[in-house]
Symmetry: C2
Subunit: 567 residues, 2 copies
């Protein structure tokens, strides 16, 4: 493509309202323009990259046995009412009325639509499993759109859905999709982790998020420094084993600790390690109060508390509730001498504390010499804390480290959440109607575009990985008014195009400084500069990534490009 | 692709609510399903064809020098208010509010969006011309969605826009697009005409519609039987030349013609030819009354009347107005002895009528022996009638015939309609701000899919043209439980896939009759049946279009397929 005919409005300045690197670069390199908050036009360069990402997704989905279709964005409200999400989705779901005053949702996701479609056509186990996907514009009215296309209100998503007659078949389908996702993100040149995630309110079981490692990510990932293990930090189990030392037990002693509320304060006040302190937090687990204990240097993970009790809701007790139940202000709560109806559970690390310190359920007082087996009634020791950096990885391999991640994909075992609500059943081998077992699998295509840029840039602009770059070669004649430079550049352009390279020719009448700056911003892997030595048949080749540059005789150019780019 | 893994829900019965062939076949062959009125899911087979059409469109657009981008479907109301279309578009424009109660339109078309985008980035004539296009889902809340995806409320469109600094540049761009459109529809295997169309209220100049010839079309095309000429019937000029015979003029005579109002009645009553009768119709042209004359066998074309007077509105005068102005009921109106303030204009054919018949402006009375030069005051003779079948083609080549057409594309010289309303200006070579001159160019991608099927089917199903078919080869093992048949079919499937053919393998455990019926419905160009002679290495090849079938030895199959399909 000739640059004069393409719409690439580059900017010299960093736009004031763009906080993160990818957003800044997409604006500056002429990839996107905002139309309104969270709504963007993808200009030709961005569009070319989107198509490449889509093609990779398509190849991997087809390879995984899924078929592509296209469902409508306009979805009648009745479908969402059947699943119940019309009422639960909130203002993120964009809604409108047609000319007949009928309610519609703009597709934020398509579980209802696909369930309805498959329910109407598939009646027998013989037609299962079935996997379908689409690549489509989705609409979600985000409360706080930000970071450019990383969190927009209109975005491109690949959503896939699978239907199964058995859980084993779902497991197989899930594994195929999982592998396809790994391939997609690897081929996009991303440094990512498949992270065990919370199945949340969806009622599913297995679920993984695909996270691109980035300091601007909104999620924290706990990963092993020596294996593939990675999990959302909320989900990582702690497998540490604790051993009790054989120090002699002291007597329990109540002490005055004026204004020493936090673990920090009390450990410092008493000059003991945090590991010796017992953190005691009162939770409301569904309708029941539970006192949860953890070691002073650990944080309680309420998802683990919730799972321990198979509860629906776990909340911290309020100060008023604490006062009412324990007759104590928060900060001095402890497990000793509390009402029988309050269950006490503790993280495993607490079980080995000898002569510990805990609140005395009395303002400005603590106990020391606490030995829980003797002094309190702990109903259960379990894994109840957040994993920490330095903990042993849950797979036993290496130590845990933390990283931030941008979620670009999600695979999810839905189970029968939708098929039961919407009565999507099949007849099994015995002729009995059963709800279909479903999986759903999403990739944020436009978000992936931004994530790639977030990971591939330097101070001068974007640095495209080869197989996702909008073009691979940028030809720059230094002076287009010089006939031999212009002609050589044009000839090279046609020759390399014919060879199958994707070439952008900067045929604009601009100063060469402007062209180089734009070229660095746009970030194509290889730049060929046609300058004064054009007459001698010599051009300069520069690699965007390494910055390495060298002169090449035209006779050797093809061979050189083959070495660099293949083909 | 293996058929068992693809979602192709075929139907035996013709769905009751599908009126036209393409709609019936798309439902029966498992290409689409309706979600709600005018809103469809494109199932995998349809999706594959859509992608092929899109690829053809893309190649031809790129060839024409346009760059692809993607603009949002969500468009803030302010843009549409700037152009004025927020108020004029009516209920076809779908509207919604976001969570902050701001108004949005769902993109029905993108003139406003692209004008705003280019206005903000292009400031100089040096950056023009510029041509941009997108392939995108559009939304129009049609009053009467019908014929399946031929007239839907959510549909796929390619819309292109070009920006120019001069009218000559617009002409060039328009010509390139015109040629690209001819290529697109030819490559889609369509029998179509590029038809001169009415530029209507858009204020543009040149405009062509691309019409697929079909009896279900809503527009009438006047085309030459011996040239490429074609026009919307409303737009075709009449170039007939009329010669006056040298019959002697009779005297004007008022005669009584009780209840003879129509041309049919009066010509029969007087036993004269319709060609001798003068049809006289009173029009209201803007605020002025004009009497328009045509030969009895011709129809007056009000667009031509409108153009003759450069008027904004042309309407038939009401009976009340006719009474008021001519003191006469319609049916007896004529050009003789009418008030001076009423201008009389006539179609050219009227100029040669000798001894004609016309209304006498008196109920139940006509004149005969009418010779207008002598008896009336005609201010102008001009081309004011509709062209008819049998007329000479306006390009002088051949005779006109009529056909019905489905509009699949439209190229349009917009001029400065949007750039002036939205202040999209550039600085010309003299540094003066000028409005950009625009063109717009649309293709109904999903409608094209239906139009192809409308033209390519027989009583058994769809008959795909090769380069647009979802797959080119359908392999059918007669009995998948027979090991040698199944294995041969599978081997063939892999071999032909590897060779680059697109192959659908019917691996379902169905009766062969069901498979053949489905295969005919789906309509792939070549069917390979693997039956009893599998062991002998013999298969049957059947061509969908001709119905021709023959046995082929496996050793000769590749050569045979190359003959049929190329590759």
């Amino acid at each position: 493509m000739k640059q004069s005919m393409m719409f690439i409005p580059t900017l010299r300045e960093i736009p004031a309202d763009a906080e993160v690197k990818s957003h800044q670069l997409m604006l500056r390199a002429g990839f996107i323009r905002q139309n309104t908050s969270g709504v963007y036009s993808y200009l030709p360069l961005a569009h070319k990259v989107l198509k490449k990402i889509e093609q990779i997704v398509r190849e991997e989905m087809n390879q995984a046995g899924a078929s592509e279709l296209l469902m409508p964005a306009l979805q009648q409200a009745e479908l969402w009412q059947e699943s119940g999400r019309w009422y639960s989705y909130g203002p993120e779901l964009m809604r409108l009325k047609d000319r007949h005053n009928r309610d519609f949702a703009l597709g934020a996701t398509h579980e209802e639509m696909i369930t309805s479609l498959v329910r109407d056509e598939v009646k027998s186990y013989k037609r299962l499993p079935l996997a379908l996907y689409q690549i489509q514009t989705k609409f979600r009215d985000e409360k706080r759109p930000r970071f450019g296309v990383l969190r927009g209100r209109e975005f491109i998503m690949k959503d896939a859905y699978s239907f199964h007659s058995t859980n084993e078949s779902l497991d197989e389908g899930y594994t195929k999709m999982f592998e396809a996702y790994q391939n997609v993100f690897s081929r996009c040149g991303l440094n990512f982790r498949a992270v065990i995630a919370d199945s949340g309110a969806m009622g599913g079981t297995d679920t993984h998020e695909f996270m691109v490692l980035s300091e601007i990510g909104e999620d924290t990932i706990a990963y092993s420094d020596s294996s593939q293990y990675a999990a959302n930090v909320e989900m990582a189990p702690v497998i540490a084993e604790y051993e009790k030392s054989n120090v002699a037990e002291n007597e329990l002693e109540k002490i005055v600790t004026p204004n020493q509320r936090t673990i920090e304060e009390i450990s410092s006040f008493l000059n003991v390690s945090k590991e010796t302190c017992v953190k005691s937090i009162l939770f409301k687990v569904d309708e029941k109060f539970v006192l949860v204990l953890a070691r002073g240097d650990h944080e309680i993970n309420d998802i683990k508390v919730k799972n321990l009790f198979s509860a629906s809701v776990v909340e911290l007790a309020t100060a008023d509730e604490t006062k009412e139940v324990l007759n104590c202000v928060p900060g001095y709560v402890g497990p000793i001498n509390i009402p029988n109806e309050i269950e006490v559970v503790a993280d495993q690390a607490v079980s080995v504390i000898i002569n510990g310190v805990c609140g005395a359920n009395e303002e400005n007082h603590h106990y020391k010499g606490v030995n829980l087996d003797r002094d309190a009634k702990v109903s259960q020791y379990a894994d109840l804390r957040f994993i920490q950096e330095g903990d042993v990885s849950p797979d036993g391999k290496g130590l845990i480290q933390f990283a931030k991640g941008i979620e670009v994909g999600h695979v999810f075992k839905l189970g029968t959440r939708y098929s039961e609500a919407m009565n999507a059943t099949f007849l099994d081998e015995n002729g009995r109607a059963q709800p279909m077992i479903m999986g759903c699998y999403g990739i944020g295509v436009s978000r992936t575009l931004a994530a790639i840029i977030e990971q591939h840039n330097d101070e001068n602009g974007i640095v495209w990985p080869e197989n996702i770059a909008p073009f691979t070669i940028h030809i720059i004649p230094v002076n287009v008014k010089n006939d031999s430079q212009r002609e050589l550049a044009e000839n090279l352009y046609h020759e390399l195009n014919t060879k199958g390279y994707e070439v952008l020719l900067d045929d604009r009448q601009e100063r060469v400084g402007v062209k180089f700056a734009d070229s660095d911003l746009i970030g194509l892997p290889v730049r060929i500069t046609v300058g004064k030595k054009a007459d001698e048949g010599i051009v300069e080749v520069k690699l965007r990534k390494s910055g390495e540059s060298f002169e090449v005789n035209l006779n050797d150019l093809t061979e050189k490009l083959t070495q660099i780019l293949g083909l």
